[in-house]
Amino acid sequence: MKTIGLWIGFGLLVLSAVSLADAQEIPGEPSGREIAVMVDEREDGDDQISEAVWTLTNSRGKTRKRHTLRYWKDYEGLDGLSSKSFIYFESPPDVKDTTFLNWSQEDAEADDDQWIYLPALRKVRRIASGDKENSFMGSDMIYDDMADREVEEDTHKLLRVEQDNGTKLYVLESTPVKENYIYSKKLRWINAETLTEPRIEFYDRKGRLLKILTTEWEEIDGIWNWKRIVVENQLTGHKTELDISNVRFNQGLKESIFTERSLRKGAP
């Protein structure tokens, strides 16, 4: 009985130590998890329309460009969905009228529903989404990067606080709970005021720095949104630049935009 009491006491001691560490890694600053929750809860609108130019550059400097129009709608768990997005390819001519539809599942373990319409086949085809390590549109971002990642899927630790031209930045280390995840960890620089992330470093399974994502943000209608994203793969030298324009929030997008109809008809 005495032994059990000792074990309980030891357990409580360990738990309180962990809680303390979780609650306040740096005195006077919120914990890593609290910051991650605040970032996750940052306002992102009910829906969004945006245009983008994707510039993909390989290590030899050869570039490819894609012009896209994107529609996105937040489902907030309705029908088990996190969000739906629809992408229309405007140019170049060989991919013009190609469309892509994604229904993102609320359950992080579940595969998204994805379809593509290829004008050369005139067919809508469902595609497998199980391998989230696949490149998104040939870019340096993978499908997993594009999906909503739940706070609980990582442990978050506030490493330090930095100043950049008078801007206070939290440097957060997010380590996946699940073993053998695509990344061994991410280092995230978070603007303490706007809760935007100007820089993310991704480390591969072997702990090597895999890619660096830098983002310029702009505030539109009170919502912070990507303006320009640059992802540089440190191992291959491949680079993706994404210039986003004409962003419109809360347009009241209709459900019919995210159906087979739009896949075949193109941009609404």
Partner: protein, 650 residues
């Protein structure tokens, strides 16, 4: 027998399209009470600021503004009900604003402010009673002088002219105003009627003098947009030029084709809810071993022009798309594609097929488009599709003696088949499809009441001559797919009721046509092996139920396929392999190719098509050595090919 000329069909559908548009516009006009009328469009340029005022007969219900890029625009929707305003473009003499365009939509007037430069300036748009005021601020594009312009003014607007906000007349020597207007002092000009009396609400005009250029004295009177401008705004032209050259691998080692293609697709946006698409192409082939018998074309009901036996120009598609709420309507000459399979067609049988190159060219090029009507209705995850095809065209087999003439089918004898009458209601083809998207799965149910695209070879027992004719059949089918992890299982099948088959026991002089039920289906699996590799395997089967004795052909036919698709080097190198294997006769078609994209517009593809196996098989017929009565190049048809393609967009 019928052979409808191109011009007749085109005119009929052009007329129908015009009537559709006319009816739509008339309906829109009738449905819109004349309550909101545009009176005036006014521009004030002052330093780095531009103010565009839209004056209406009464206050709009609401406004909605958003920017667009490439080219840079600011769009302002003024919500009605509105009185239709003629589509027009009002040019502006300004360093920032190129012009203001206006168009009428069912529930609103749309104003597009075309801006110069690629950078969108900061802007605000606000409604002030019956006025809508847009203010743009572009420090990098200052105007050298204060300038006011009336871009449009309706006759009814004269009573409103005095109330348009204009640059202020106060403090003509204000230094701030000179600073705003630029370094050079603007010339003092007389105030003009309706252009300088009301106090402005802009910062510049609060501070600056009321200097107005003479242009304000000569307001532009509804300048009509030029044809070129209208076309540029509403037209989207894409296409390609391409050379396809093939070299025979077996004797004689000569080119079997050197086709030079020009294809152009024109999309013309008629309104927000209607678009016209025209797709035409022409081809010149100095080698031309894919066609040999030009005489056949005289009876071929294909909408194309022929010049000799090496040139053709063809209207591929011409259709009008109309979007009305949850309905999509496509009217005109078009391709309609059903099904899930790769490489062989099961449900994709609505359009007939051109077999001059067997199945080696892309289906999008091999399908023969048909005139018809397709209506889709979308309800949540459901799509209901209805088809009406009053047009009929048969499959087009390769010419007798050409490279890919069917070796096991007397195509020449079938050429003179009786065909259904075009545009006769009772001879129309109809179909419907219901599709549903589900979690991880899609389903469709299909029905088609159609004509056989190959004629049935009936035999006249008195003359012992073929009297082929096309016959009706019902097709009931469906398709599905199911995604899990990195796999997608696919399937499609179709049951043809009353399909015709030949039964011929020639030693007993027995020949007859029998009707049987015929099932054709495919099961397949997609596997995303790796980021850069997708694999697909399929199993095909054809089954004739209660097959007649002495059947010509197989009562059960089986085939399998393998398809691999990959890409490397920043998605510029695309290897691809398709293998089709006929199990009954052990014959094989192997299609391998590699495409390299030099740029987003220029690509080259090299590849090889191999035929092997028994002469009796679908693929093996092109692996067999030449027969005495065939032309010498109709022997073994394996080939190398090269394709160079340059895409364009105007």
């Amino acid at each position: 027998m019928s052979s409808t000329p191109l011009r007749r069909k085109t005119w009929v559908f052009s007329l129908v399209a015009i009537l559709w548009i006319g009816a739509g516009v008339s309906f829109a006009q009738a449905a819109s009470p004349p309550v909101l009328r545009l009176h005036k469009v006014h521009l004030t340029a002052d330093g780095s600021q531009r103010q565009v005022v839209l004056q209406f007969s009464q206050a709009p219900s609401a406004i909605h503004a958003f920017p667009l890029s490439t080219p840079t625009r600011l769009v302002i929707d003024v919500i009605g009900p509105v009185l239709p305003h003629p589509s027009a473009a009002y040019p502006a003499k300004d360093t920032l604003l190129r012009r203001v365009r206006v168009g009428t939509h069912p529930q609103h007037l749309r104003f597009v402010l075309d801006l110069k430069g690629e950078k969108l300036p900061a802007f605000t748009v606000e409604q002030q009673g019956s006025r809508v005021r847009a203010v743009l601020r572009a420090p990098d594009r200052p105007t050298p002088e204060l300038r006011a312009q009336i871009l449009f003014e309706s006759p009814e607007a004269s009573s409103f002219a005095q109330s348009i906000p204009q640059p202020s007349t106060s403090t003509p020597d204000s230094p701030q105003a000179e600073q705003q207007a630029g370094a050079a002092p603007p010339p003092a000009v007389p105030k003009t009627e309706g252009a300088s009396v009301a106090p402005s609400r802009t910062a510049a005009s609060r501070q600056g003098p009321g200097r107005v250029t003479p242009s304000a004295r000569r307001p532009a009177r509804e300048p009509q947009p030029g044809l070129f401008e209208t076309l540029r705004d509403r037209l989207d032209v894409t296409g390609y030029v391409k050379n396809e050259t093939a070299l025979r691998l077996h004797s004689p080692h000569q080119l079997s084709k050197s086709q030079n293609w020009l294809q152009a697709e024109i999309e013309f946006e008629l309104t927000d809810w209607a678009e016209l698409t025209i797709l035409g192409r022409s081809m010149f082939d100095p080698v031309n071993h894919l066609e040999t018998n030009i005489e056949d074309f005289r009876t071929s009901p294909v909408d194309r022009l022929e010049g000799g036996d090496s040139f053709q120009a063809e209207l591929r598609e011409l259709y009008l798309d109309v979007l009305y709420e949850d309905f999509d309507i496509r009217l005109g000459r078009q391709q309609i594609v059903w099904g899930e399979s790769i490489g062989l067609r099961i449900l994709d049988v609505i359009n007939p097929q051109d077999f001059r190159e067997f199945i080696l060219n892309d289906f999008i090029d091999a399908r023969i488009p048909l005139w018809g009507l397709r209506v889709d209705y979308t309800l949540s995850d459901w799509t209901f599709e209805g088809l009406w095809l009053p047009d009929f065209e048969a499959n087009r087999p390769a010419d007798q003696g050409s490279e890919f003439q069917f070796r096991n089918v007397p195509t020449q004898a079938l050429r003179s088949a009786n065909q259904p009458e075009d545009w006769r209601l009772s001879d129309s083809e109809v179909g419907f499809r219901i599709t549903r998207f589900l979690r991880n799965m899609d389903l469709s149910v299909n029905y088609l009441y159609s004509w056989s695209d190959f004629p049935v070879p009936f035999l006249d027992r008195n003359t012992f001559r073929f009297k082929p004719r096309h016959e009706r059949f019902h097709l009931i089918g469906g398709s599905f797919n199911y995604a899990f992890d990195v796999f997608v299982i696919r399937g499609e099948g179709g049951l043809r009721l009353g399909e015709h088959f030949v039964s011929a026991d020639l030693p007993k002089s027995y020949y007859s046509i029998r009707q049987r039920e015929f099932l054709s289906y495919v099961l397949g699996l997609d596997w995303t092996v790796h980021d850069n590799l997708m694999a697909n395997v399929q199993f095909f089967q054809n089954v004739i139920f209660n097959a007649p004795g002495a059947l010509v052909g197989e009562s059960v036919e089986n085939a399998v396929s393998l398809f691999l698709l990959s890409d490397f080097i920043n998605e510029t190198l695309h290897p691809q392999l398709l293998v089709l294997y006929g199990i009954n006769f052990g014959d094989l078609l192997i299609r391998s190719q590699v495409r390299y994209d030099f740029s987003d517009y220029l690509s080259a593809t090299i590849g090889a098509d191999f035929f092997t196996g028994s002469r009796s098989g679908l693929f093996g017929q092109f692996a067999a050595p030449v027969r005495d009565h065939d032309r010498y190049w109709t022997g073994r048809n394996s080939r190398l090919f090269l394709e160079v393609k340059h895409s364009f967009a105007l």
